[in-house]
């Protein structure tokens, strides 16, 4: 555990020293939030749109932006740099747990996601969003989004360990866009066309988005929240297992 914490500190220091890699992860999701609300905000006025529970459309869009921000983690790209520069071999030649090598970057990614999510929620308050589930709900939003950041960083890290290529790893990050758009990102699932509803129902991101959304908009549906945590927890276990297996067979 000590090795994991030491390497997590190093990964966080790395992030602090490369603000150019972190700032876009805040800017781009906010850009999408502004653009999407600007395009559809008048179609769904808060006063007469039932699924907004009295809030503006920004509250409905916020979870999409939070998930997008949490999926922009830089852990895998930094890992590729370590591999290409030879530092990863130095770490592998040290008598430390192989799990620490992969877990440390994922933990650092979760810390970054907590900070990013807090900042985005704070900024969204300027758009009239309020977290209807209160402080407890806000903490659950942090936990859920931070956990998703670990899952996605774990996926990206798998690509990095497998390909050892910056270009391939960066391309892997684009997988999130279809995942994000095959969700009820603009309207609730029951308002989607049937094929789109089926696609969204098969997409695990949908359940995490719906969990976040119920915490933001109020009228909290604990079933949705529980399902969101179950999905992200399950994916987290799978990603951790695959990462550990990959690092143990890394040659």
């Amino acid at each position: 555990m000590k090795d994991t914490l030491v390497l997590t500190q190093r990964a966080l220091r790395e992030a602090l020293r490369t603000p150019e890699a972190v700032i876009p992860t805040l800017f781009i999701p906010l850009f999408f939030l502004v653009v999407n609300v600007g395009q559809a905000g008048k179609i769904f006025p808060g006063s007469s749109t039932a699924f907004l529970h009295g809030q503006g459309y920004a509250g409905f869009q916020l979870p999409s932006s939070l998930l997008l921000g949490a999926s922009f983690g830089s852990a895998a790209m930094f890992l590729v740099e370590d591999i290409e520069g030879g530092y990863f071999d130095r770490l592998r030649a040290a008598p430390i747990s192989r799990i620490a090598l992969v877990l440390s970057r994922l933990l650092a990614e979760s810390v970054k996601a907590l900070v990013l999510t807090s900042a985005m929620v704070a900024i969204s308050l300027l758009f009239g969003v309020r977290i209807a589930s209160g402080i407890g709900g806000f903490l659950l939003i942090l936990l859920l989004n931070g956990s998703w950041a670990v899952v996605y960083a774990g996926f990206m890290q798998l690509i990095a360990l497998r390909t050892r290529s910056g270009a391939a790893t960066q391309s892997g990050g684009l997988v999130f866009f279809p995942l994000l758009f095959l969700t009820p990102s603009f309207v609730p699932r029951d308002m989607l066309t049937r094929p789109m509803e089926i696609a969204a129902s098969c997409n695990p991101v949908t359940y995490i988005m719906e969990g976040l959304r119920t915490l933001v908009l109020g009228d909290v549906d604990w079933g949705s929240v529980g399902l969101a945590f179950a999905v992200v927890g399950g994916l987290g276990v799978v990603m951790l297992f695959l990462n550990v297996r990959m690092i143990r067979s890394y040659d």
């Binding site: 000590k2 190093r10 130095r90």
Partner: protein
């Protein structure tokens, strides 16, 4: 006798389109405790692959190997505790300072934060990087990076130090500094396993050496014995150089092509 490095029938194969490629084909090695052992060979001969197997960075396909008395395949963590490694590519994190990098490395070998900071300071002094220690590594020159890499490999006072082409790409002054470092480290009793393409370097530093070609050891001995043997076999009137020994052992020769000296297969 306990060998610092011992390998028997060491093999490494990689999968390829049409079967597999055998990079190392049954290498036997016996490196004595406390010596500087040179491991020479042309490009692609299997030097780095052998070093990466001995340092636990590559799995062993066949044969056995032990370092400092510990079996590489059965107890890789045990080996890692006893070795220092500086590979061809200086394994450094450009975003950390030299001091942070050494402190982190010392912590990974089980030291407390306070102990690790003390170790980092000592190592920075030894490699003459105290002034640069609080600057980020990305601003270091090639020679400074190589010295920091060496220091990083030494934070836990390893029994065996593996140096894979430590002076490649360095200017002559930096190269001499690294030679001095290798002598100093070896003077404290650390066994040094050195791969190099510079035969003068091997001649200067190594007590014994082995030449690998095509994944097999083709020659082994002290530099003086190897040169004397070649002189005797070829009936030379003057002492040959280690270059001559190397070219003879690897079946290569030098010839003039278009006015330039080129190395070609015999």
């Amino acid at each position: 006798m306990t060998w610092a490095v011992e390998a028997t029938g060491l093999r490494k194969t990689y999968p390829a389109k049409d079967g597999e490629v055998e990079a190392v084909r049954g290498v036997d090695l016996h490196v004595r405790t406390g010596e500087v052992f040179g491991f020479l060979g042309p490009n692609g001969a299997g030097k780095s692959t052998t070093v990466r197997m001995l340092t636990t960075l590559l799995t062993i396909t066949g044969g056995t190997a032990s370092v400092a008395g510990v079996d590489v395949a059965k107890d890789p963590d045990g080996v890692r505790r006893k070795i220092g490694v500086a590979l061809q590519e200086a394994g450094l994190d450009p975003r950390q300072t030299g001091r942070e990098l050494l402190t982190l490395q010392a912590r990974l070998f089980g030291n407390s934060t306070a102990e690790a900071k003390d170790i980092a300071q000592v190592q920075l002094e030894l490699v003459d990087l105290v002034e640069a220690g609080d600057h980020r590594v990305k601003g270091y020159s090639g020679g400074m990076k190589r010295r920091l890499d060496l220091a990083s490999a030494l934070v836990h006072e390893p029994e065996v130090l593996f140096l894979d082409e430590p002076t490649t790409g360095l200017d002559p002054a930096s190269r001499l500094t690294i030679w001095d470092e290798v002598r100093r480290i070896n003077g404290h009793g650390t066994t040094v396993f050195l791969t190099t393409q510079y035969l003068e370097e091997a001649d200067q530093l190594c007590d014994r050496l082995a030449i690998i070609d095509g994944g097999r050891i083709v020659l082994e001995g002290t530099p003086a014995d190897l040169k004397a043997d070649l002189r005797r076999r070829k009936g030379l009137t003057a002492d040959p150089t280690l270059d001559d020994v190397f070219l003879d052992a690897t079946g290569r020769t030098r010839t003039k092509v278009a006015g330039e000296v080129a190395e070609v297969q015999a």
